[in-house]
């Protein structure tokens, strides 16, 4: 398998409150089959061999289903390929001698913990507002793995793909209409505090590793209007 050389700018930040900056590393033996996280592994192996602090990054199942990992590669959340988590992103888009910039997922609701590792508790706080186990079940039913890439990819810092997926799947899990209204109102209020407004740019749909559809975005407005205007005829609950 052919290998090629990459120059990688990696965001290094020792702690949440310290200023960060890019450090440049050369990786002479990158390959098109290598994933983004394997590229970081390679850099860390080099750093450890040299006795330096390795790059911290979020890491999980490496099968694209747990939602723990996530970095921004050349300004695109997760990496150059569409709809794949960072652990499943290959370097096929790069050629010998290219420069690659790796940053953390970026959004006000995803503060940096260290280097490329971010705090994804904002997603959890919104899920908790809608009764946590039920909200997690709704997300699982919708296919969302709560990786946070939708928020990071959005120029508005909106988490509407996450929130919309939850709100689309919550109604069937509610015992009755009052419960549905109560949960969706709490989720909407929590989302309002955490995330920005949606402009339907669709960047989230391009990066979502679960391939969630753009229609889910609309569930937010639908549930909001449904809560606002009292029911005229009883609907199923």
């Amino acid at each position: 398998m052919s290998t090629f050389s990459l120059t990688v700018d990696v965001w290094r930040q020792p702690s949440p409150d310290d200023p960060g900056g890019f450090t440049t590393y050369d990786v002479p033996d990158a390959g098109p089959d290598m994933t983004v996280l394997e590229l970081l592994d390679r850099i860390n192996a080099q750093l450890e061999a040299a006795g330096e602090e390795p790059v911290a990054f979020d890491d999980g199942c490496r099968e694209g289903v747990c939602g723990k990992c996530g970095v921004t590669v050349d300004g695109v959340a997760h990496g150059p390929e569409r709809n794949a988590a960072s652990c499943m992103q290959h370097l096929g888009a790069y050629r010998d001698g290219d420069r690659v910039r790796i940053e953390p997922l970026r959004a006000a609701s995803l503060p940096v913990k260290q280097d490329l590792s971010v705090d994804k508790k904002a997603l959890r706080r919104v899920a908790k507002a809608g009764k946590f186990p039920v909200a997690m079940k709704a997300l699982a039913n919708g296919g969302c793995i709560s990786c946070g890439a939708c928020i990071s990819s959005c120029p508005n810092g909106s988490g509407q793909l996450f929130v919309g997926t939850m709100l689309r799947e919550l109604p069937p899990l509610a015992k009755n209409d009052d419960e549905r209204r109560d949960r969706s109102a709490k989720v909407l209020a929590a989302a309002e505090d955490e995330f920005g407004p949606c402009s339907l740019l669709g960047d989230c749909v391009e990066v979502c590793p679960a391939g969630l559809p753009v229609e889910n975005l609309s569930a937010v407005a639908r549930e909001n209007l449904r809560n606002r205007f009292p029911r005229r005829a009883p609907e199923g609950g």
Partner: protein
């Protein structure tokens, strides 16, 4: 495997403004009588006012096309807009009602856009310095960039509308042509668009209008919660493309016709 030596080529550079959070934006002052508006409600306001504007630009374009029927018909149409509803309604009622509704929509649309922009910047958390080039396969075409630049195209449309009102409604120099005369709509239009820079600005604004409509119409559906069906969304996008193209193309034929002396 990793036989190569690590080369930390540079010491950590001083942090660029890249990841520094925005300073807390001042809260936008909301009059006490108004409730603290939620993002979803502001989006509803944008959707409603945007829908009114969308309908208006279509009607306005169809009215503009009357220019091809000649000066007499065009001026008669301009006069009809003032006398519509007569003799029941006083002169100008319909016109001033339309102006009032459009002005109210403008206040809602621009006001909501301002608040939402402030919230979006705060939620983004970074003052985005221009990033590196996007990776291969993820680069955007100029049209895609234009379509997603709602604030920029909206700004262009706002400036153009101000110019357009000064030029053809108020007849204020230097926006208006030298021989502007109230009541002779056809002559004013021809005189105005005979100036190549004005014709060019008109065409550029129509491109901005097309981009704004093509993205804005599906966004209206999203913000009122009717975009939950995939097939509906696809059809709506096709319809929005057609709508934007028809309105912009219909309007753009007029400066072209004036400059080529097909209309004079």
């Amino acid at each position: 495997m990793s036989s190569s030596p690590t080369t930390p080529a540079t010491a950590p550079r001083p942090a660029p403004s890249r990841r520094r959070p925005l300073p807390e934006l001042p809260r936008i002052a909301v009059p006490a009588a108004l409730p603290e508006l939620s993002t979803t409600d502001l989006k509803l306001g944008m959707a409603g006012s945007g829908a009114v504007f969308s309908g208006y630009v279509l009607v306005h374009m169809l009215g503009n096309l009357k220019v091809y029927q000649g000066a007499e018909k065009f001026d008669a149409y301009a006069e009809f807009l003032r006398t519509a509803g007569a003799p029941v309604l006083p002169r100008g009622t319909v016109l001033w009602t339309a102006r009032g509704v459009l002005s109210a929509c403008l206040v809602v649309h621009v006001g909501a856009a301002g608040v939402l922009t402030a919230r979006a910047w705060r939620a983004n958390g970074t003052l985005l310095a221009r990033g590196p080039r996007r990776p291969r396969g993820r680069r955007r075409s100029p049209w895609e960039v234009l379509r997603r630049s709602m604030r920029s195209t909206g700004g262009v449309l706002g400036l153009f509308t101000a110019f357009h009102v000064l030029d053809l409604t108020l007849g204020a120099r230097p926006a208006a042509a030298r021989d502007f005369a109230h009541g002779s709509a056809y002559a004013n239009l021809v005189a105005s668009l005979s100036r190549p820079p004005v014709a060019l600005a008109y065409a550029v604004s129509m491109a901005a209008l097309a981009a704004h409509l093509v993205h804005g119409i599906p966004e209206i559906a999203n913000d009122v919660g009717v975009g939950c069906d995939r097939r509906f969304q696809r059809r709506l996008r096709i319809a929005a493309n057609a709508f934007g193209a028809v309105v912009a193309a219909g309007n753009t034929t007029i400066p072209v016709a004036v400059l080529t002396r097909a209309v004079r």
